[in-house]
């Protein structure tokens, strides 16, 4: 998941070119804040919405396709992990499209983008450290305190009584 940051950083460079803040536009005042219109609403922005919708749908369908592939086929452990990695990258791509187009973060000025994105970079450490810790915990336990796994028996059918006991 550490891929999120380079993806978002590239978003900033991409959208610098899209930046439509212009000086010649008149200032406007919202609730006492003097701001400059981000962009004049045009048919162009509606086209962008539909394009993003299609992209999001296609990515989701690819993800589902990989999900079914993993379900129907027995892959080796390495290949299985590789496919899961692809799905994770595709999800980050989806997140990027939602944030930059639907939430219009890509249209905001760079300083604002950075105050949102920079603190989130702590996730890089957060994810690596904690997942590494979890895996290490498993390995140490298997090495020093191995337990015979309890096999699941279908004799006791799942309870149907319902209600929180």
């Amino acid at each position: 998941m550490g891929v999120r940051i380079p993806v978002l950083l590239s978003c900033i460079t991409i959208f610098k070119n899209f930046n439509i803040i212009t000086d010649y536009m008149e200032h406007q005042t919202f609730g006492g804040e003097v701001t400059i219109p981000h962009h004049a609403p045009t048919d162009e922005s509606k086209k962008r919405i539909w394009k993003t919708t299609i992209i999001l749908s296609i990515i989701t369908m690819i993800e589902l396709g990989i999900g079914y592939l993993l379900y129907l086929t027995e892959f080796s452990h390495g290949l299985d992990l590789a496919f899961k990695g692809v799905v994770i990258i595709l999800s980050l791509l989806k997140a990027f499209y939602i944030v930059s187009i639907f939430m219009h973060l890509g249209d905001e000025i760079r300083n604002l983008i950075m105050t949102i994105v920079a603190p989130l970079m702590i996730f890089i450490w957060f994810i690596i450290a904690f997942l590494y810790e979890g895996a290490s915990w498993k390995n140490l336990r298997n090495e020093y305190n191995p337990k015979e796994p309890v096999k699941y028996e279908q004799t006791t059918t799942p309870s149907h009584e319902g209600g929180l006991k």
Binding site: K84, V99, L120, K151, P158
Partner: protein
Amino acid sequence: MAQAAAVNTKWWSGGKSPFNVEYGKLMMWYFLMSDAFTFGAFLISYGTVRMSSVSWPDPNKVFNSFPLAGHANLPLVFVSLMTFILIVSSVTMVLAVHEGHHGNRKGVVKWMFWTIIGGLAFLGCQAWEWHHLHDQGAWWGRNPFPNADGTVATTNFSNFFFTITGFHGFHVFSGVIINLIALIMAQTGVFEKRGHYLMIEKVGLYWHFVDLVWVFVFLFFYLV
């Protein structure tokens, strides 16, 4: 292009908002950032526990039902439906924001209405799924599903599933309420009197964030 003008603008010379956004919208962004940390912490703790487990229940064997389909084995089908419902309601939301830019009250009301319908449909799906899992004996502290390797699983799986999808579902629920309030305000002409539809943009940010979180819940609970 306009890029040169943007670079030369002195945002910090005073007299205007240095981030070029209205206060409420900026604060919505910071709230969403903190909310991202909350969900991130949830999902990472889930990942950590899953990594520390020798085996884990197979989502394709747990989530394989569809309403009225009886015992048919349909992995991923229902959750795909939920995912597409949320994507579509995100699109209708962004269309409402778009109409708001034009100051078109009717358009805003129309798309807000469909967004709310999408949110309610998603909540309905989630209610059905929770009910179904509960029927099968899953709840906080109870897990009837075996691990993928055939061993008995701990209750971690159900605990994380119900906690995280529940927290997300609560966000969807509060989003629907907020959208409803915004819809009523748009319909009664509150925003028209204000002269702008910025509130729709702020509500929209929250709604898109809910969709964003679902991308990762969908990924880590159902896909991988």
